[in-house]
């Protein structure tokens, strides 16, 4: 699986409050309204200009702060394909993968990629490719790939529950 898009580059310690402000977290629930506030207090030009497949590139500790899942889903709803960073806060990392958003820790690539670079991510090869070169990142574990391949945690669990129900049904019969 290879995907590609343009890079939006940001700095260190970008927190969830600037990715998706806390004042919206207990009221907004629809895709469109969540998408509309993505990166509102970080980059007001983002929502109007982001293209499907675009990639967020950041420094250390991307997504630190709150556990709010909209910090990941607001990017997904805008078509963002991946976050590549020097490091990623653990809850954002989980929220991203759980919503089918690739979260890739690759310090070398994160430092080298420039704003607007066309970036390709090859999951099978665990490689990030762009004009300045090719960078490898640690492959995802099979358990994480299972979630990513299913399109996120919810569809993954739906399949798991369906499989359990089928197995149970067979046992009863």
């Amino acid at each position: 699986m290879t995907q590609s898009g343009r890079a939006w580059k940001y700095g260190d310690n970008v927190n969830t409050d600037v990715i998706f402000p806390g004042k919206y977290t207990y009221t907004l629930r629809e895709r469109d309204e969540i998408a509309a506030h993505a990166l509102e207090d970080l980059d007001p030009t983002f929502v109007a200009n982001v293209q499907p497949g675009d990639v967020i590139v950041a420094g250390i500790n991307w997504g630190c702060g709150s556990s709010r899942e909209q910090a990941a889903t607001c990017l997904v709803y805008n078509g963002v394909g991946a976050v590549i960073a020097e490091s990623i806060s653990r809850i954002f990392y989980r929220n991203a993968l759980n919503n089918g958003l690739l979260a890739i820790v690759c310090p070398e690539a994160a430092r080298a990629i420039q704003p607007g670079d066309k970036v390709a991510i090859d999951l099978a090869a665990s490689e990030i490719r762009f004009s300045a070169g090719t960078f490898r990142f640690p492959p995802f574990s099979p358990s994480i790939m299972g979630i990513v391949d299913a399109g996120g945690l919810v569809p993954y669990v739906q399949c798991k529950l369906a499989a359990q129900a089928t197995a149970y049904g067979d046992g009863v019969r």
Partner: protein, 455 residues
């Protein structure tokens, strides 16, 4: 792995949660948490959970739900959210639902002894590492993960590497656990504990009051930590025993079952208490001597002083003595980090006989209804109000910008909370400084950021 190989707290806790004899660092386990926490986000999590097509959640007895992040409801939309949460709890038979005004999730679950030493709690709240104060494994998770737990009772977790932080000696007068937390984050960075299990050790830690111990794991969320840990001791057990009694009496329970045993509550009170203490202790987990730590950091309490985290990240830390003339329009005392009785007491001590500076507002929001009642009885609330403070409903208050004290653009807030991110309190054009309750109170009196020694 042989049991003789020394293990960290995180290894022992996640082995227990996964039902395995032992686990290795880096291993991914399917953990079955003892408690699953959610708050005002419960209705949104329900929306995700419904996609699983279940009529009933599989773990109603393990769920705890608080309404705390926007209480009392500031808008109709927030009120609808709360109404949806109440309906959900009713229809699912969730007994541990805590109403508007009861307090902040981490404080309330601690007061109710819903989490015991050695247990695992996963919460859709980033400050869930808080429960490390009582020797539990607490970690924050997302909404889809919480929905998954409601549906299946389990979630994958990787066993984290551990970091050891030692504190020797007693904190000097005017220096608090908050100052220690800020110093650690200032020294090592907001990502200094990224993905680590942070264990606090040393005589300086065990010398802290329980309320002060709560500050450290809570603040480790701002350090990037997965969870944090302080060894439980007799004081921890006594606190939880009192909480258990409060809860079990309210529920009219005649027995209490946990950690594989059931205690009848109807016998001789002294005996019952001893049995309950033993039951609480039975679950406690302690890291082994020689357990593997990726890093160790040592601090001497005598070297610490009051600190302030400056805008807009928690690791922009300077001693309060180095800040001069920073005017504040708002001082906020409260939150899961510093809204407890000893915090209100420290603030009352500072403002007693003084008045809040003209041009400065002083908001006081106790972390729970119990804190508020205790502070009323102790006279702290009266002292704070006489000085000119404003009292809010127990809950999270303006911490994450919902309501009850949102700053105007251009204003400066000094807060006892845990985050000073740009836009955190509502507008990206306001500045937030973080400090201990005593510094917040002194700043309210002075109208500029000040330590208690400056009065």
């Amino acid at each position: 792995m042989s049991a003789s190989i020394p293990q960290t707290f995180a290894q022992k806790a996640l082995a227990r949660a996964a039902g395995l004899p032992s686990v290795e660092i880096g291993q991914v386990v399917d953990a079955r948490p003892d408690v699953v926490l959610s708050h005002d986000n419960t209705a949104a999590i329900r929306q995700i959970w419904r996609q699983f097509g279940q009529e009933k959640v599989v773990i109603p007895e393990r769920m705890a739900v608080t309404m705390d992040h926007a209480v009392p409801a500031p808008t109709t939309r927030h009120a609808q959210n709360h109404a949806e949460i109440r309906r959900f709890a009713q229809e699912q038979g969730i007994r541990n639902l805590f109403e508007v005004g009861r307090g902040i999730c981490h404080q309330v679950l601690s007061e109710e002894a819903l989490v015991l030493p050695g247990w695992t709690i996963l919460g859709s709240d980033s400050h869930t590492p808080h429960f490390g104060w009582l020797g539990a494994f607490g970690a924050g998770i997302g909404r889809s993960e919480t929905a998954t737990l409601w549906a299946t009772g389990e979630l994958w977790l990787r066993v984290p590497e551990s970091m050891r932080i030692e504190l020797t000696g007693d904190l000097p007068a005017g220096v608090t656990a908050k100052d220690f937390a800020l110093r650690i984050i200032g020294d090592l960075g907001a990502d200094g504990g990224l993905y680590r299990s942070v264990e606090f050790h040393g005589a300086g830690i065990q010398a802290l009051s329980l309320a002060s111990r709560m500050v450290l794991p809570n603040m480790m969320a701002e350090f990037g930590a997965k969870n944090a840990y302080i060894a439980p001791d007799d004081a921890t057990v006594d606190y939880l025993l009192a909480g258990l009694h409060r809860r079990l009496e309210r529920e009219g329970a005649t027995e209490f079952c946990a950690n594989g045993q059931c205690i009848s509550l109807t016998g001789d009170p002294v005996t019952v208490d001893e049995e309950l203490r033993a039951l609480i202790r039975a679950g406690a987990l302690f890291p082994d001597e020689g357990a593997p730590y990726a890093e160790t950091h040592c601090y001497h309490a005598a070297d610490l002083e009051p600190y302030v985290a400056c805008p807009h990240t928690v690791d922009q830390v300077v001693p309060v003595s180095q800040l001069s003339g920073v005017q504040v329009q708002q001082a906020f005392l409260g939150t899961c980090t510093n809204g407890r009785l000893e915090d209100l007491a420290a603030a009352a001590d500072v403002v007693r006989g003084r008045k809040i500076a003209s041009g400065t507002r002083f908001l006081v929001i106790p972390a729970s209804s119990l804190v508020l009642q205790d502070a009323l009885r102790a006279g702290y609330i009266e002292t704070l109000l006489e000085a000119g403070a404003v009292l809010g409903t127990p809950g999270c208050g303006p911490c994450m910008g919902n309501h009850m004290g949102i700053p105007a653009p251009g204003e400066v807030t000094i807060s006892s909370a845990n985050r000073n991110f740009r836009g955190r309190m509502g507008t990206p054009d306001a500045e937030i400084y973080l400090a201990s309750p005593a510094v917040v109170a002194a700043s309210a009196v002075c109208g500029v950021i000040a330590g208690p020694g400056d009065l």
